[in-house]
Symmetry: C3
Amino acid sequence: MLMVNTPTKYFISSGSAEGFSHLNAFDNALLEAKVGNTNLVRMSSIVPPKCECVNNIELPYGALVPVAYASKTSEKPGEIITSAIAVAIPKDDTKPGVIMEHSATEGKEATEETVKNMVKEAMKVRNEPIKEIKVISATHKVEKIGATFACCVLWY
Amino acid sequence: MLMVNTPTKYFISSGSAEGFSHLNAFDNALLEAKVGNTNLVRMSSIVPPKCECVNNIELPYGALVPVAYASKTSEKPGEIITSAIAVAIPKDDTKPGVIMEHSATEGKEATEETVKNMVKEAMKVRNEPIKEIKVISATHKVEKIGATFACCVLWY
Amino acid sequence: MLMVNTPTKYFISSGSAEGFSHLNAFDNALLEAKVGNTNLVRMSSIVPPKCECVNNIELPYGALVPVAYASKTSEKPGEIITSAIAVAIPKDDTKPGVIMEHSATEGKEATEETVKNMVKEAMKVRNEPIKEIKVISATHKVEKIGATFACCVLWY
């Protein structure tokens, strides 16, 4: 991989699904989130300065896609699982934003609240006033084997 | 990393080994699989359309290599550990293939059967008729600390 | 990601911190290690031949940064946690070096000793006489939620 550049666009997405196995449920949740036919490369969790928020991008099949994500799978029927991410963008557009990820056996509201507090804290330790916070999550009640997934994709 | 392209070649490989620690056993299994002197970057698990299947490529030492893999380490003497991956290529060569990974404390046959069913399922949810499935695995009976590894490497 | 090149520089770093959550503690430890505002892409663990050891590089905010690392978080007050990495460079500068990572609930000395033995072993199986070994670690006594982190960053 030629390491040169820094991503210039990002979008957030989420999905949930049942599946034949934990990995199939995860794969199905990725498809739901419209990132399922790419090669997600997981990374820690910064939005570069001036990175533009866009709607779902048509990613090429099999492209290598840098992503921060939360995911959770479960095979306990009836269990509630939620994955959420939060993106905080600083007021100072020369500084980086932060992405935080959180999964839990809780509902949408509690999980989003937690991840929002996490990202606020991350900006606080950086002494960066926040311009805006975006949160996205997916919640699922497990039937047989379920997965939830929430992501921030970086792109060009 | 300059994110631009999509890999054009792939190969599958596997290996197993004992080692001084879990990580050394894993490292030794990578060497067995002929990917041990590279920097594997793990990704989720798509074969780009028209990606060509090749034999083991001579990868440059320390190159950043995108890979989907299954691995398992164990320090229970006598335990059987197996790692397997399956690659399904669609009939429609404008569509992506899927890679599935599975590790278990089972033998070669059972683990390969499971991962093959996983990849069939992944193609079924995509409504893509399958042209072919490739499976590879490594099985090991643990002496002190053992590792198994099976991978699909994407390359250029 | 355009996969072409092999990194030409590396540096080692470490950090430890408390945090609001496990992920925030990890994020704070990354900031301590001066890699906190980048997108770390984890990889297995080779120093390319002739890769130059440099001091901490000013990494661009949000850049995709290939890294091998050890990390550990804990929420047991009073627990000692340590993360360490060791880098072994071979005498033969046409051959790759190896990075090993280890985390433990032990102190600096024991954890560094273990990771040093791991990397010696990795060079021994490669039949490569060692020119030098570099070790770095971070140790932390947990107050509420703590994290330790040690890394080898590859760069260009």
